[in-house]
Symmetry: C2
Subunit: 271 residues, 2 copies
Amino acid sequence: MAQATGDGTVGKALDVLDQVASFGRPVRFSELLEASPYPKATLYRHLQALTHQGMLSFDPDRQAYALGIRLVRLAHAAWTQSSLAPVARPHLDALSQKVGETVHLAQLDHGQVLYVDKRNAARPIEMFSEAGKVGPAYCTGVGKAMMAFLDETALAEAVSQQSFHRFTPATLTDAVALHDDLRAIRARGYAFDREEHEPGIICVAMPILTGKGRVLGALSVTSSTARTSLDGLEALVPVIRPVAERIAAEAEDWRFPDEGSETRQRMTAGM
Amino acid sequence: MAQATGDGTVGKALDVLDQVASFGRPVRFSELLEASPYPKATLYRHLQALTHQGMLSFDPDRQAYALGIRLVRLAHAAWTQSSLAPVARPHLDALSQKVGETVHLAQLDHGQVLYVDKRNAARPIEMFSEAGKVGPAYCTGVGKAMMAFLDETALAEAVSQQSFHRFTPATLTDAVALHDDLRAIRARGYAFDREEHEPGIICVAMPILTGKGRVLGALSVTSSTARTSLDGLEALVPVIRPVAERIAAEAEDWRFPDEGSETRQRMTAGM
DNA sequence: AAACCAAGTTTCACATAATGGAACTCTCAG
DNA sequence: CTGAGAGTTCCATTATGTGAAACTTGGTTT
């Protein structure tokens, strides 16, 4: 239901791409065929096209399709040219340093939370293996912080995409409970995760909003009930809020440093 | 000439995607139109479809298109399910620790070198802003190490995609010189970068090959002429080679830990 | 305020390109 | 050798993408 991809051929091809992604491992043609709404020939040609384009790679030994490295290249570009993530980087460094806790930066993607950066007080960030992860929106601080400030239609769509799986006793398991919490968040200006996703894990999350109130992303500080409490985290709000505001401001008037924009040929500095 | 995208509608749409990427910043419709081979309406519909699909994002304030965050999500999946990068991770850690120099892991993508991971002896890895970068193949250690072990047709294609720009006096500036070096590399089993890309920067690079001799990627240790010499780097070969072999072996019989593969809904562990 | 202009969006007849059933080819197992 | 399963190609049908041109919108000039 509500499969609703629909955007012509391109949409279908990207469907196939997602399908390959959803397996989380290289897949055989027949496995895809089984799970695909498309007939053999159609699926085949889409796989061909995507492979030819480098969006998929085909491992001839294993006879299996996997996601292609062109995606990594594109994502690098996406991350770099997104106004939010690169601008936020130094601020995340400073913030995690200051509060000594794990800091996340997230954006909303099809009703899900997508983590675009992270600072783990102790260990340094773990690259692609960490950033790029997605998680549920209805039971995470960042997710709720962002949803709370969506306009009506965007919110409705986002809510409809939530699965409301109960992870812990505190998980909000229906749209009504979620809306209540969102209302409170809107009034308060920031969100909490009260062990809603994982027992013992709590966080405060602050939305990152443009001057006009559009949601750019969210910022959170995560800790555990063993180390602190919700009150303890709330005490950090005066530290977190200005960081979020700063990031928003910088992201908004981020005028691109005029790099020579050669087509598809960005040189690296250090080999 | 040799624009050769060609794969039907999907290919064209991905062209557009690349075009947006090539700007390195959010772009207006008209800017794209100017640089696009496609007529207004066609370009417009492709942008619509891609945006709708989350491959592009449209910033309503700026009225500009940028790469979408869906790419980041897909790239995360690509990185995770690629057999090379995740398998290599601990080995890179160990290697950089051991040799105390910068270590790169790269793959070949359309004749260019794509860095998929990196360890910088001193500073921790710089995430998306580093991994995902592309560089020239003909004048880097990893690039030459990989090209040297391609089969004839793949090599011909890769060579044809080199730009042979002279970065330093040592840069190989034509196909003949490159072929000579590749022959030597094939004989020797590993490649050098003799300040060919950047003055003062040298490296040794080892290809990562499957049992059948297929190129999976390459591994390099980079340093500067101030700190060491080519001989000094060559002395590390006995350390590097087994690492490359180990990674190759593990990547080859990487049988995927059977995670529950829910479609498009991978849960995160720590909020 | 009216006229203008540029940027973006929609329309529509047409032609290209995607579709999918079926036939074909390969490879491997019995 | 025979059969089964997986993967690839064919081809008539039809859905889709195409692009010139008309239209709408928002901002600027006279």
